[in-house]
Symmetry: C2
Subunit: 226 residues, 2 copies
């Protein structure tokens, strides 16, 4: 392969293809998360259908990235640092695809909510969604830039998301108890909050994998390392 | 390393350590799933606390298996078939750890349910739990035996679990609507059913990875391959 006068070795060529596929995947998934929340906040059906439509491209990319990564390892047998990058790509790939699935779950609930009367009160997903979105973007950036410090910042946001999700859950349970006609809508809200929390968990997984890749330190399950 | 008079090469030695760790992990996770359901069905607090206690060992094993697999790839640079096995081990490892987490989620809800009056009616998790448990065991067996046919049988059960989960959801919504005092208990049931469904999804992931490992065919997302 000849790019701008530079001849790439097969390994670099494979790595470049892997990087490009991962960046397309990351951009699509970040967009899906963003649109799923916008479909909810703005009651926008178009966004919802775009998220559903993009899912098959995300699924294709998942397969393609696994193929690229495994054949790169098998054919080129990369050295330690590159190997860690390719193995991390395989792990992150799974997390990204799940984030795409969860965005589809969110828009399904969002479409359901659009068909029902609005829930009274000043309830909004904007705050939790902003934190989750910035975790997704930050985790992807930390991988592309191989930036462990940026990855560590993601870990701090995870507890915040858990707290916000619990607050939404309590609020919705109180609402259902006060008026059973809210049950379906309140359940939709609870599941959306849960899906956002799970997207944040996947972003946290990505960040942990990046820290391991860059520093060779495993930060998962700190309690078990004592 | 000398086992029964046979001298193992470093690669075989590493593979054996990886296999042993994976089998311990698989056994612990299958047990966690089983006990989480038993804690629920039999209202058994001891089972619940065992599941919570075993989580840290599962977390340790996840780290250990990743370390074993990545250092095996880096040091020994296995050939195609072995490489596929080791990469599959890394993917399956993640699914197993999540199944362990979900078992903990189930027992947390199970402990919550033990503190509340029983839900009226002949409701039982036994049926869905039996299907999910046999999916978990079957997927692990298919990996250990490298048996793609067994793995394919797992995929068929996944839709069945989705249907059972939806039925439980509808039943619980009707219950909440009929009597708001059931809301917390009904939510606990909905989340348990959802956790069981997610365990089944992870077993399905394992089965798909086994099919890919054995046959080199990717069966994920069939719609996107047309």
């Amino acid at each position: 392969m000849d790019i701008g006068g530079h001849i790439l070795r097969p390994f670099e060529e494979g790595l470049q293809a892997l990087n490009m596929a991962l960046q397309e995947m990351g951009a699509l998934v970040a967009q899906a998360v963003h649109r799923s929340v916008q479909s909810l906040v703005e009651k926008n059906e178009d966004y919802a259908h775009q998220v559903i439509r993009d899912e098959s491209r995300i699924d294709q990319l998942e397969i393609q990235i696994d193929d690229l990564a495994t054949s790169l390892i098998a054919r080129e047998q990369p050295m330690a640092g590159d190997m860690r990058f390719v193995v991390t790509a395989i792990k992150i790939n799974t997390d990204l695809e799940r984030m795409g699935d969860l965005s589809v779950n969110i828009v399904e609930r969002s479409l359901s909510l659009m068909r029902q009367p609005e829930v009274a009160g000043a309830f909004s997903f904007t705050e939790i969604a902003n934190v989750v979105e910035s975790m997704v973007l930050g985790s992807l950036e930390s991988f592309v830039m191989r930036d462990a410090q940026k990855a560590r910042a993601i870990l701090d946001s995870d507890d915040q998301v858990d707290r916000m999700r619990n607050a939404i859950g309590q609020q919705m349970i109180a609402l259902m108890q006060s008026d059973p006609s809210y049950i379906q809508r309140a359940l939709d809200h609870i599941f959306i909050a849960r899906s956002l929390e799970r997207i944040a968990d996947h972003a946290t997984n990505v960040a942990e994998d990046v820290i391991f890749m860059v520093q060779g330190i495993d930060v998962r399950h700190p309690a078990t390392r004592a």
